[in-house]
Amino acid sequence: MDIQLSEKQQSAQDEFRDFVDRKIMPFANDHDKQETMPATLIQEVADKGYLGGLVPEQYGGNGMDSVTWGLLCEEIGRGSASLMSLFTVHSMVIQAILKWGDESSRERWLPRLATGEIIGGFALTEPNVGSDATAIETNATLDEGQWCVNGQKCWISFGQVASLFLVFAQTEGKSIALLVERECDGFSSEPISGMLGFRSAMLANIKFDHCKIPESNLLGRPGFGFSHVGGTALDQGRYSIAWGCLGLAQGGLNASLAYAGKRKQFGVYLNEHQLIQALLTDMITQAQATRMLCYRAAALKEQADPSVIMETAMAKYFASQAAVKISTDAIQIHGANGCSDKYPVQRYLRDSKIMEIIEGSNQMQQIMIAKHGYQSHVMNERRQAERAKRETK
């Protein structure tokens, strides 16, 4: 596996880092405390072309390759996991339209998603439906060329400001995915505050009260909403989150290395204490292992290999746990300072915990990954048995 960045990718990474260091890092703690994301910052990342990173150039986007998108998510995640969640859900909507929209849908939505004129939202979770997404209660009925949508969704990242939602509903017992505009009659949203993490992710609960949606806003076909449209979006979401967690992990590590190199206890810098070195060693190794999994997922994504779904799930699973572990250790190294909002590491820990829950909880990832492991094991045994049989002949 080649993890050497091309000149263009290296240049993009330098640009992303510089942008995050200047425009996001210095303000992220304040945004977290104020539980808001300034519209000016969203506009700025849109103007840079970052929100349209995954939109092909023919639709006005940047057409980034998988590694470059990953590098962007890493840097944004290092600066602000809340802002990173915008990149996650926005790209999920883009990917769903790109894969399952017809040409007129792509032409209608993608250019505006690329420029940030439209902000995408992902509306799957409901008050009674979390991991068991097949039990969705939001209902849609088709009548005279329009879908009538009724129901509610919760914990929607950037639900306070998103203008186009990818909404999952049931129609006659079949799962569907619809693009619902905020402007439609019957749509309402209610801001959420007081969360553990993602405090500036503009979370909202949203409601649909007889919302009338054009028939052409259906993505995929009835019966394929969750499995295919949702599957495409969630795979993209897990990919972005894995890289975003790498950024969180790297942020916690960077803060710890800096702190341990300037604070003295017992007459020497913290980084000379062996127990601190032990913590730093684990953090460095965990971050590097996360990076390797992210690059592997990127390589498979570029090849459109079917195994990318499982490898991405593994990357997200490992990366979110690494981010929690690293930010926990980062707080330990910072001591009481780490618990203060004057330092970013307390935010990293709160945001990391959310990463273990979203886009398929880590328990759901465990079920998938364990099953995949068993499949691989059985097939390896079978191949070995067939080889032994051939050699015996």
Binding site: G101, G220, R221, G223, F226, S227, P306, V308, Q375
Partner: protein, 85 residues
């Protein structure tokens, strides 16, 4: 690629997902509950990569994916192959 190769490759992919179980070519994978939504997406990626065409909105029909024979038939139609099996 001929139809037999489409069958063989589809059979190998489905078998791998089902822990090496010997699956009849006509058995309904979805009706029997042998596969889930994760398999459905992996199947799309498999078909696209292995047979070299994009699965589009209008292809989303369980009749195209419900059995190994159905997958091969679908691929053959998309590739313009004559089915002689």
């Amino acid at each position: 690629m001929n139809f037999e190769e489409l069958i063989s490759k589809s059979h190998a992919f489905v078998t791998q997902y089902l822990n090496g179980a010997d699956v009849d070519l006509d058995i309904d994978l979805f009706a029997t509950g042998m596969v889930n939504s994760l398999f459905a997406m992996q199947l799309v990626l498999f078909v696209e990569k292995e047979f070299g065409f994009a699965v589009a909105n209008e292809d989303l029909d369980y009749d195209n994916f419900r059995s190994i024979n159905a997958i091969a038939d679908f691929a053959a139609r998309k590739l313009g192959l004559t089915v002689n099996a």
